[in-house]
């Protein structure tokens, strides 16, 4: 008997490690995802430390440096007011990352609450909430963000609100669909039959088993939100100059793009890099959570 236990040890251990441990284990083995994660963490670190590590003051203007091309002194060159673009990008990471993270967080929290509510209770609640979401979703997302952003005015807080409202329906739908699948499983019925409270059934049985698609979509969602935020700033809504934000920098630079393309190239690359990392990480998470999809 004891030898039998020893031989199946590997299997037992991986089961004991728990779902989370296994996911992390698989994620660690995924090189692309790890590169994404590391670069992302570095960028976040850069954003946090930006007041101390930028080569120049991001707001300092200089007549002499107007439209300065990239050089050793100013790696990414300078903008229309002679401000160092590298410093502005480093500092701008704060606004861009914050916008992406917070909008997605707000959308996710509201979405998960609503989603578990409608997914679990179903019936009337489900009907009402889903019909309201139908309405919100009937407006193309970008359009809705533009309208709300116009109504609330510019600024980071308002932009977060504008972006998150558009993200709620998707999270709700995703979680609801996932919950509906999980709900039909027998172990949920089993938990109900042994008189688990509804709250407990939701939090300890349904959510852990249906949250995986949400986690993946959140990771990817941050990237998408950053893109949307930049688009808003670009058309003059959202975050506005002189706040250093990547979309806003593009918006400032666009009129001079034919003469001084460096004004636009670098902020765009910065956006792309962050979103790319998030997507790399998101892909890795998806594969790690659903290993059968990988091979």
């Amino acid at each position: 008997m004891s030898t039998a236990v020893k031989d199946t040890h590997a299997g037992v251990r991986s089961r004991r490690q728990g779902q989370f441990g296994q996911v992390m284990h698989r994620l660690r083995k995924n090189k692309v995802a790890m590169v994404g994660l590391v670069v992302l963490l570095l960028l976040i670190l850069m954003a946090i430390l930006s007041p101390y590590i930028t080569p120049y003051d991001y707001a300092k203007t200089s007549k002499a440096n107007r439209y300065a091309l990239p050089s050793w002194e100013h790696l990414f060159g300078c903008d229309a007011m002679g401000r160092d673009i590298l410093s502005r990008i480093m500092y701008g990471a704060r606004a861009s990352l914050w916008l992406g993270l917070m909008s997605t967080l707000v959308a996710t929290v509201v979405g998960v609450l609503l989603g578990s509510l409608v997914g679990y209770y179903g019936g009337k609640v489900d009907n009402i909430v889903m019909r309201i979401l139908d309405i919100i979703q009937a407006i193309p997302g970008m359009l809705l963000s533009i309208a709300i952003s116009a109504a609330l005015g510019s600024g980071i807080g308002n932009t977060i609100l504008a972006l998150s409202i558009g993200g709620i329906p998707m999270t709700v739908r995703l979680l609801r669909g996932s919950i509906l699948t999980v709900r039909k499983q027998e172990y949920i019925e089993a938990a109900e039959k042994i008189n688990c409270s509804k709250w407990r059934v939701i939090t300890s049985h349904i959510l852990p088993n249906s949250i995986a698609p949400v986690i993946v979509s959140v990771t990817m969602g941050i990237g998408n939100t950053i893109l949307q935020a930049a688009s808003l700033s670009y058309i003059g809504l959202g975050v506005q100059p002189p706040t250093p934000e990547w979309g806003a920098m593009l918006s400032e630079g666009k009129s001079m793009i034919t003469k001084y393309p460096h004004l636009c190239i670098f902020p765009g690359l910065a956006i792309m890099l962050v979103v790319l990392c998030l997507n790399m990480l998101g892909d890795g998470l998806r594969d790690a959570m659903d290993p059968k999809l990988k091979n």
Binding site: R131, I132, D134, I135, I136, A138, I139, P140, G141, M142, L143, I146, A147, I148, A150, A151, L152, G153, G223, L227, A230, S231, Y234, I235, G236, L237, G247, L250, K254, I257, T258, P261, C264, I265, P267, G268, I271, M272, V275, L276, L278, N279, M280, D283, K292, L293
Partner: protein, 316 residues
């Protein structure tokens, strides 16, 4: 089936009402005074007050909402643009051609470029082609469309001079760069979804069954795997249309294309609310119709869903 479509069409009435209420409320809390942006900075306080009264801006929310809904849904009138003094509906229709051309071309690109790319990646799973195309697709979904647009202009219009930088005066050539920029992410995401859907289907038992019949690899892939793999993709296409419609708003700004999106962003900046509300309603209507179309297409490709729509129970 007809009953289902009818039901869905009927359901669109409350959805449109909902959109109208929602967008009206959003515009209601918009800061800024349409009267002053209409009369310009030189207008006196008296003039402004008179103008506001004339435009009905002093009435309470519920009265204005009621008036708006009555106008829109009973008289089918989207109102008059504050700025141009012309019919909003006519203004939208006049510009719709550009927006629709771009959105439809982008859709076509997404479907007819993205799908084959995804299929090729899936059939060469883990091969060089798969890795290269999937990396490109990953980059593709990470590029801001408007930035890509700027870069394309920089390369192909400014430096190479092959294509016009902006406007619509050059026929189809004017739409090439806007469409590439606007559909790039769509193509990439279509390829990614097609690939993963295809890979999932290839693993299913019925594909093994098909192989065990002695069918060639080609037949298994294209007759059995592909139709099944494309079912979930239909939703992506529908959503993509929404993205394209929203995306054109930005792209039209980059390329100075006088479409609905440009009309609407200008209207937002000049507090021309009837135009904004009308535009959102019309685009919402188009989007809803597309989503209905998507669901109908579903019924034609998947007999299980058709049975659901028809309320007929499977003989179990």
């Amino acid at each position: 089936m007809i009953r289902y479509i009818g039901k869905r069409l009927l359901w669109m009435i409350p959805v449109m009402l909902g959109i109208a209420i929602l967008i009206f409320s959003i515009m209601y809390i918009c800061p800024g005074d349409p009267a002053s942006s209409l009369l310009g900075p030189s207008a006196s306080a008296v003039e402004l007050a008179a103008k506001r009264e004339e435009m009905g801006l002093n009435d309470p929310y519920i009265v204005r909402l009621g008036r708006y809904l009555y106008q829109t849904f009973i008289k089918f009138d989207l109102g008059t643009s504050y700025k141009f003094g012309t019919s909003v509906f006519a203004g939208l229709m006049e510009r719709m051609q550009y927006t629709l051309v771009i959105a439809l071309l982008c859709m076509a690109l997404q479907v007819f470029v993205g799908t084959p790319l995804g299929i090729m990646a899936a059939t060469h799973h883990n091969g060089v082609w798969d890795r290269v195309s999937m990396f490109l697709a990953l980059v593709g979904v990470s590029i801001p469309a408007f930035w890509l647009a700027l870069m394309l202009v920089l390369i192909f219009a400014v430096n190479l001079g092959w294509l016009p930088t902006s406007g619509v005066s050059n026929g189809l050539a004017s739409f090439i760069l806007p469409c590439i920029a606007n559909s790039f992410a769509g193509i990439a995401s279509q390829a990614r979804h097609t690939r993963s859907s295809m890979l999932e289907v290839i693993r299913s038992d019925y594909i093994v069954t098909a192989k065990a019949k002695g069918l060639s690899r080609r037949t298994v892939l294209f007759k059995h795997a592909l139709p099944n793999a494309l079912i979930p993709i239909i939703t992506i296409v529908g959503n993509g249309m929404g993205m394209m419609l929203g995306g054109t708003v930005i792209i039209e700004n980059v390329f100075a294309i006088p479409g609905v999106g440009r009309y609407m962003t200008d209207a937002i900046n000049s507090r021309d609310y009837p135009v904004v509300m009308g535009g959102v309603l019309i685009l919402g209507l188009i989007f809803s119709l597309i989503m209905l179309l998507v669901d109908i297409v579903y019924a034609f490709v998947d007999p299980r869903i058709k049975a659901q729509y028809e309320g007929r129970k499977g003989k179990k």
